[in-house]
Symmetry: C2
Subunit: 688 residues, 2 copies
């Protein structure tokens, strides 16, 4: 085990010895770690995968199961360096936005239907209004991309320009939005399939949860954000819908009469409402669900190939064009043909439209429905990309628990992924897996974040007015964007307030308060722990040691021997059940005649912990500045189940003492299997 | 805080100093515990109730809630010394047996009804047969009482005379019996009430569970086994039923026609069976449920006033007489009047009988039904007396986990009470709270225990044949008892095998195997821990200390100062996320320039625990006999919820190291609130 020191880099021992010069004669001899567990890098050691191998049989099984489920570990250096072209970028980042076309038309129609079938004709003007807002958003977001080439999430833009609180508002709004992206997209994906497999409808919550579980697993494995696997479904969806729209337009233009497919349960609202302004605004708010997901491109600028900003802007514009044309095409055809939404959400409007145009048994119908389900699953996946990344940024800024900043063995933010999955699953269950029930909550968060980010950009340009030419144009662009998105945010908030938007408006300040509290806690801890001087010598401690003993056996002697080795001041304490027990213990202790004094405390109420702690308190009162070390003899049986056969007092004592100031608890486990061996070795050491 | 030593007994300090003579100059100065927490008794201290007072606010609330629910603590010295007269003894110990008359007739009838209404006439002969067996049991049990005046539970008698295995068979049979006593009595108690409040019937499981919970709470409070509270319901039950039987007999003898009350759902078995021998045996087995509970008197002999054996025997004989007459009276009237059991257990036979004789709205009807429910609750309570006491005897003999032998703050065997309540509740749920479904399992255990106990007595007298006169008569008594109970055991086992008795027959060996395993474990631990020599000197240890550090702050310095104070051999280990982190830590450490060498291990897979343990293993491999102390700097926040904001790595590391041989883990908590104060004190100490 000695180090020859000739070949290879200097051993740990040498390094320590070198360091030891400064330490004087107190240098500790440490050997270079043996075996394949470590390799050197510069002045320190690097743990190899062998160091992480599970040692026990149970541990190995657990590890193997883990590897099958999540894949092999990835080293930090293996972090993905792949960059996105416009083609793959469009497929991956735009899937959330483009997939909204699967339900945006239907959601607008469902609101208008309350004012009767005739009101459905208003769907088209509403779709046009939504597309106008989209155009404004695309233009102003392209400004964000140019200004924040390192990824301009709304949180960062708002925080940079309006301060922390605005940043936290945007962050909470976005976090809510990500949760709802997962919930809505999974629900809509199941709806696309259950449109032609009605048997699924009754268990739609269950299937949506299964979909979320599958996506979660994929993300814990660390899905690469690229590849044909992701790009293909997006393009299949886009092109099959274009084909459908082309066929539909051709039929209408050639004067063919397209009979609308009848929904299973035609829409029949209890009492037909008047076509009020509020209802139209509500329909607009529902339709503007199609604008969600358009922030993804601005968030992910650094993931593009150079020149990043140019590619990102191209992608953004393409995304808007694709979504806009699909949304307008679907809405035009659905209103012209006269599709009515199904009352019980048994079949989607898109499914009814496709059935009307090409028939429910044509290959195109199935291609459209299945690619819809897949692109919606990809859209749900964007929530799993966005939420953990935002949470990790917030955790780095100390607004979220540190666990969110930790990358798991597969380099994924496991904690954020699991948190998102759990919250989204709860939301799915609470809202019964219904897209229509979820949509009123959905849009508000997005537009709050948009507004803050656009307003932040206005300020950004204003601050740069002395340095940058043409800042007026840019400021105007983002000003229009801020006003438009603010109007939509207010419209959505007012129109959908009673339907559920109030929950989001209540939740945002609540989340901000939590994040603020977390940040304050971390700051107070940092302040409390920071060193005043870096050259402070270690304070000298003279701890006194207390050893609670329940009986006089090898485990106790082992603990007493340890106690004696760490301090001169050792006392054993025995809590006795009654006077007989006290006398018996006294007798045994005297017979043993060891070197440690024993105090006996009788507990007439048969309570163990409290008298012991009271006794430790009494000792502590003598000199409160001295640290008390409680040395606990603990018995480790061979098998885990055997723990049940031993009193769990030690654990309770440890919890109790953990909160006692200036108290150290030292666990001295005594393993049955080493019983004899160990005492002998101890004796051998003592005889040296 | 000094002790004047003039008045009062010698202080702890003096005692330690005296003991210190033997220890030489190593005597530790310990003050006499200050304040009202302790008082002296002989050579040791006794903790006063003040020592047990909760200190924190949360703790005080918890303690107050506990006191309201369970009552104030009782000292061991306050253990009940009350003895029972025949009058109270009969009410308390015999309630289990006497209450069986509430359902024994019905259970026999329910079996016979399968062979048609005519077969119900056989109920009376079966009741007579049961009473004959009862007489034999009473006679032979009275022999047990005389031979085992200290309480002759079947476990003890069987173990004494046939060895451990027979004892364990009897013990498992009795434990199963106690569980079923609780389940059957609660279910029957609810049935007595739901007979006139049918609305309860649908939720009978819920009400039975509530009854069990109530009895459990009472037992955790430590119900005194005496008082009018317990005696009254038993006598009300007995006398109201006697009144009912007298009225019924008078009516029949005076030639009045008593029309039988019709059950809500008359019994209509799917296919009427033949009246086979097996069916008759089954009916007998069901009726012999009335023999359960007759072992309670023999178990509790020492609880009687002197002369104990005489009082116990009188109680036993009275119990048999009361049960026998009630059982025969009820059965005679029910069969003569022509009561048929209700198919769905909506109304009990006893309720139907009482309604027939005195009408469903007479005061006597309600007195009978309510006192039946109460005596059944008392019968369930006997299970709570018997099971924890048996379990504690088994725990003292190391056949059950030690927790069962521990008396809680109210002197009750809390662990056994809770265990019984949980198992009985599970049984009630599994068997749907139905008396009829539970009865087939019930009787077998009792008769197995009886048989073993009687056979043990036969052997007992045989062993004493040289010393005792008249041993032949006693042996004959118990011989007849053994044969009679063995026959009933076989009859019940065969007749009810398929109906559920098989479960008990499977469970008994299973329980024995568990108890045997527990005993073997305790024995192996005792062997492993026993000291070979009592004068062995403590082995000398030279531990080496490892301090895992995540950053260089006050908490870390505190832990390093502690580490330095307990050993000369200290090394700090830092697990770095990557090369940058490693270099940064190295730089900071050098800038600090402290006295402790630092080893840095980079973990490219971001895993913390495994590389640390691998490094500790590497250190350990150098000299496996030396104990390694892992000193963990732990940060204690002000509020409990703040724990969620700190990584839980320390806990996982502790679990991992607990199983490492020859490793001590010392927790050094650093309290935020003492942050400044403590470092200053440390500095003060070092400057001395």
């Amino acid at each position: 085990m000695t180090d020859d020191g000739k070949e290879g880099p200097p051993s740990l021992e040498e390094r320590v010895t070198r360091q030891g010069k400064r330490i004087g004669d107190r240098a500790v001899r440490i050997i270079r770690p043996a075996g394949g567990d470590f390799r050197r890098r510069g002045g320190h050691y690097v743990a190899t995968p062998e160091a992480l191998e599970a040692r026990g049989r149970l541990g190995r099984w657990f590890q193997a199961a883990r590897r099958i489920l999540f894949g092999a570990r990835l080293a930090s250096e293996q972090e993905a360096q792949e960059r996105l072209s416009v083609k793959t970028g469009l497929a991956i980042m735009a899937s959330d936005n483009i997939s909204s076309s699967a339900y945006a038309t239907e959601e607008a129609m469902r609101v208008l239907a309350f004012a009767g079938v005739a009101a459905l004709a208003l769907t088209m003007p509403i779709a046009i209004a939504v597309c106008v807002v989209l155009a404004v958003v695309v233009l102003s977001e392209s400004r964000v991309i140019r200004a924040y080439p390192n990824g301009g999430g709304s949180y960062i833009v708002a925080k940079d320009n309006h301060g922390v609180i605005a940043g936290l508002v945007a962050a909470s709004a976005l976090m809510i939005d990500y949760v709802l992206t997962v919930a809505v997209s999974s629900a809509a994906g199941v709806a696309a399939i259950s449109s032609f497999l009605p048997a699924l409808h009754d268990n739609r919550v269950l299937f949506a949860l299964a979909l979320v579980a599958l996506i979660t697993l994929g993300n814990l494995r660390g899905i690469r954000e690229a590849g044909v696997l992701f790009a293909a479904p997006t393009y299949v969806y886009v092109f099959s819908l274009y084909a459908l729209i082309a066929i539909g337009l051709f039929q209408l233009l050639s004067g063919l009469v397209v009979p609308p497919a009848a929904p299973p349960h035609p829409f029949a609202p209890a009492g037909t409402q008047l076509l009020t302004v509020l209802l139209v605004l509500r329909a607009f708010a529902s339709g503007s669900v199609g604008l969600t997901g358009s922030e993804a491109v601005a968030n992910g600028v650094p993931n593009f190939r150079p020149s990043e900003t140019k590619n990102a802007v191209t992608t953004l514009v393409l995304m808007g064009t694709l979504f806009g044309t699909l949304f307008l095409g679907i809405t035009y055809l659905a209103t012209t043909i006269g599709i009515h939404p199904d009352h019980d959400e048994l079949e989607t409007v898109n499914s009814l439209l496709t059935r009307s145009i090409v028939g429910g048994d044509s290959p195109l119908y199935f291609i459209v429905q299945i690619s819809t389900a897949v692109i919606l699953a990809l859209a749900a996946n964007t929530g799993f990309t966005g939420f953990p990344r935002l949470a990790s940024v917030l955790a780095d800024d100390r607004f979220m628990p540190r666990q969110f900043a930790f990358r798991g063995e597969r380099l994924a933010f496991s904690f954020g992924i699991l948190a998102l999955a759990i919250v989204a699953a709860l939301v799915l269950v609470a809202f019964d897996g219904s897209v229509s029930k979820l949509v009123p909550l959905y849009t508000i968060g997005v537009f709050v974040a948009f507004t803050l980010s656009q307003a932040g950009m206005v300020r950004h340009w204003w601050k740069l007015r002395a340095k940058e030419r043409g800042w007026q144009v840019r400021l105007a662009f983002n000003g229009v964007g801020a006003i438009a998105t603010a109007i939509v945010a207010v419209v959505v908030g007012v129109a959908k307030f009673a339907l559920g938007a109030w929950m989001v408006l209540v939740l945002i300040p609540f989340l901000i308060a939590i994040m603020w509290g977390i940040s304050r806690h971390y700051r107070s801890v940092r302040d409390a722990l920071t060193l005043d001087r870096f050259d402070a010598p270690l304070p000298t401690m003279k701890p006194r040691v207390v050893v609670p003993v329940s009986r006089l056996d090898r485990a106790t002697l082992h603990a007493l021997a340890f106690a004696k080795s760490i301090a001169a001041d050792v006392i054993a304490v025995h809590v006795a059940d009654g006077p007989e027990d006290a006398a018996e213990m006294q007798r045994r202790w005297e017979r043993w005649g060891g070197e440690i004094p024993l105090a006996i405390v009788e507990s007439p109420y048969r309570v163990l912990i409290a008298p012991l702690v009271a006794y430790i308190d009494a000792i502590g009162r003598q000199d409160p500045s001295r640290t008390i070390v409680v040395v606990l003899p603990e018995f480790v049986p061979r098998h885990f189940w055997e723990y049940l056969l031993h009193n769990q007092s030690a654990l309770r004592l440890k919890v109790r003492l953990f909160f006692r100031k200036n108290t150290v608890v030292a666990d001295v486990p005594y393993h049955v299997s080493q019983a004899y061996e160990n005492v002998d070795q101890g004796a051998a050491v003592s005889s040296r």
